[in-house]
């Protein structure tokens, strides 16, 4: 089924790219989205079943593919608005949509991949496609961001590939002929710990580009600052989830061995260092997108802390990942609307947004409350559970340090957001006569509302899928 989906996406993408016809592009994009949703629903009804030898519909993949569906639909709508505002040529539009479709397909393939090489290939493919999307505007900055992103993630992924090869040594020793996750899990207990640790370290380093976590976070931040906002909304959410899938699946293998504590230490260090760097960097941001990008890094730090804590922390980590994806998507979808009102990209030259666009500002405020994990946001629950798990694990110093850092982040985040909303700026910095599209904020409101709903009244199938994803760990 996934293979069919990939073939169909290739066909759609090529048709859009070759024909460059407005109506055809719209029809094919809509058809693609229907297909994407259909695949997720199909996966849900075939949970824990193999799909050809290469894919498996496991609970984590299903959850994240639903998140991807929820984000892709508004992403296409906002892309349409973005391209219209920037008066892109038909050729640019066709390239954009064709690449966007392949980007989403590559992420879906990564979620459901059942063996490590395929997961790696899918992640590599996401890098290639996202690079073209980052470069969409063809400016010097876009070129620099695209180049750096492609180069560093290629090198990072090469390093991760080294890790995969090390893993294949121990798989060979255990008599395995393929690097299937299920088979690796079965023999995990008898694996050579030294090799397992080396491979985890290399894979973690490589995939940290995607998860925007320490050590290779910097290029992702730059790319997110430059990319078109709908692309950003996917890069900071669904693509980050791809990185999580990569690291989580290897972590599960390690968790079956005595190297579990060691791996948790690595995650703890990466998590806390990421939050620390994000805190320092947030002081210096001058653009809204960069602020949001560093906020993603902070949230992924919390996810890593959740994994490091274990127990209820695992549940919290996945919850945090999903809620962060939905909220951050909503925030990035607002950026396109904000940008059209101001002449400059810099935060210092934007302000008074509350007067200019009250509905949009309301979305920004709601997003602010949600992302800062202030109740009723669902993120409050996931962060609360993470810190509870850390306390239970006896990591008091880490908890206190992280809470102090989060307080600083909250202060800065509110400071910059209020600057945008209430700062008095001269009229000549504001684009006059911009027609406000009231539908543009709907997607953000819907996503924020969903996070609140899922936080306080999670439906059974949602919690059940998370629990299923964690059965091996507990």
């Amino acid at each position: 089924m996934v293979l069919l989906f990939i073939i169909a996406s290739l066909f759609f993408s090529l048709s859009i790219f070759l024909f460059r016809n407005k109506i055809l592009t719209r029809i094919l994009s809509a058809a693609y989205l229907i297909l994407l949703v259909a695949l997720s629903i199909y996966a849900y009804f075939h949970v824990n079943q193999y799909d050809s030898v290469y894919y498996k519909f496991d609970s984590l993949g299903i959850l994240l593919s639903f998140v991807l569906c929820l984000l892709s639909i508004p992403a296409f709508y906002h892309s349409y608005l973005y391209l219209k505002r920037h008066q892109s040529s038909e050729k640019d539009k066709a390239v954009y949509y064709a690449t966007l479709i392949m980007f989403i397909t590559a992420m879906t393939s990564a979620y459901f991949a059942e063996n490590i090489p395929l997961l790696w290939v899918s992640i590599e493919a996401t890098s290639l496609f996202v690079t073209f999307l980052v470069f969409h505007d063809h400016t010097k900055n876009a070129l620099e961001a695209a180049w750096k992103y492609l180069f560093v993630s290629s090198v990072g992924l090469a390093v991760a590939f080294g890790g995969i090869l090390f893993l294949s040594i121990i798989a060979n020793q255990s008599g395995l002929t393929s690097l299937s996750f299920d088979k690796l899990l079965l023999v995990a207990k008898h694996m050579d710990l030294l090799w397992l640790k080396i491979s985890f370290l290399l894979i973690f380093t490589g995939f940290s580009v995607k998860l925007s976590l320490f050590p290779l976070f910097a290029v992702a931040i730059d790319a997110k600052t430059i990319a078109p906002s709908p692309v950003n909304a996917l890069m900071s959410t669904a693509l980050v989830n791809v990185g999580f899938v990569g690291i989580f699946r290897i972590y599960i293998i390690l968790s079956q061995t005595e190297a579990k504590d060691w791996a948790q230490h690595i995650l703890l260090i990466a998590g806390i260092v990421s939050i620390f760097i994000a805190t320092i960097q947030i002081f210096r941001v001058k653009r809204l997108k960069r602020l949001y990008a560093f906020s993603s890094m902070e949230h992924m730090g919390i996810v890593a802390l959740g994994l490091a804590a274990g127990g209820i922390g695992y549940y919290a980590a996945i919850l945090q990942l999903i809620f962060h994806a939905l909220v951050k998507g909503g925030l990035f979808f607002q950026i396109g609307q904000i940008r059209q009102h101001f002449k400059s990209l810099w935060l210092k030259d934007s302000g008074n947004y509350f007067k200019i666009n009250p509905v949009g500002s309301f979305a920004v405020i709601l997003g602010l409350i949600s992302i800062l994990a202030i109740p009723p946001s669902g993120l409050f629950i996931s962060e609360f559970l993470t810190f509870k798990a850390l306390f239970t694990a006896g990591q008091y110093i880490v908890v206190i340090f992280a809470l102090i850092l989060l307080t600083v982040i909250i202060y800065n985040f509110v400071h910059f957001s209020f600057q945008l909303l209430y700062n008095k700026i001269p009229d000549e910095l504001v684009n006059q006569n911009i027609k406000i599209n009231p539908y543009e904020a709907i997607s953000s409101f819907a996503l924020f509302a969903l996070v609140i709903f899922l936080g306080f009244n999670p439906p059974f199938f949602f919690t059940d899928l998370i629990h299923q994803a964690l059965t091996v760990l507990n």
């Binding site: 090489p117 790696w120 290939v121 590599e124 620099e144 695209a146 290629s154 294949s168 690097l179």
Partner: protein, 209 residues
Amino acid sequence: MTDLFITFYAITLIYFALSERVKKFIWLLAIQGLILFGVVFFSLHKIELFDFIFILVETLLVKSIVVPWFLDEVRKRNHLKREHQPYIPVFYSIIIVVISLIVSFMLSDYLHNDQMHTQYFTVAFASIIFGIYFIIIHKNIFSHVVGYLIIENGIFLLSLAVGSAMPLMVNLAVLLDVFMGVLVLGIFINRVGNTFKSVEAGNLSKLKD
């Protein structure tokens, strides 16, 4: 026979440290591709015929012909002749290559494993380390791609080192990485060359807040 090839491979790494001409980098990459072809030809014949032919074609065609040819086109287009003063003088670079080889020897001795081909592992690891070093010391993005390809060749050798029963999947991965990676990176080098009129990495330092 394979030991000879592996030694040649290590020598190419030293040559990389020695050279400053961009054209020479491309030649050395082509030679590395040929050496890898030789290694595969003499060591991998126990695997399935289809896989064997696939890997042979990949090393010969992609690594030693297509990629160097493509890089040469990129080089001509951007009028690249000589790497202007790397950050670290050639003399020190040679010392560092040698050190990286020695460290790899010691490491592979420490990690000694029945499943692993020690000689391959040594040179593969040195190649990866040297590739990263090569990226760091050079100032233009073309050389960065060359460094990336040295890492890739190291990874390829590593995949030979860790077992003769290499799944086809791993191969496809390497192929995708080299082929697509180089193609896309090459396109972007041309873009950078057109936009900034040079491919110095120093041009690409505007993304700060």
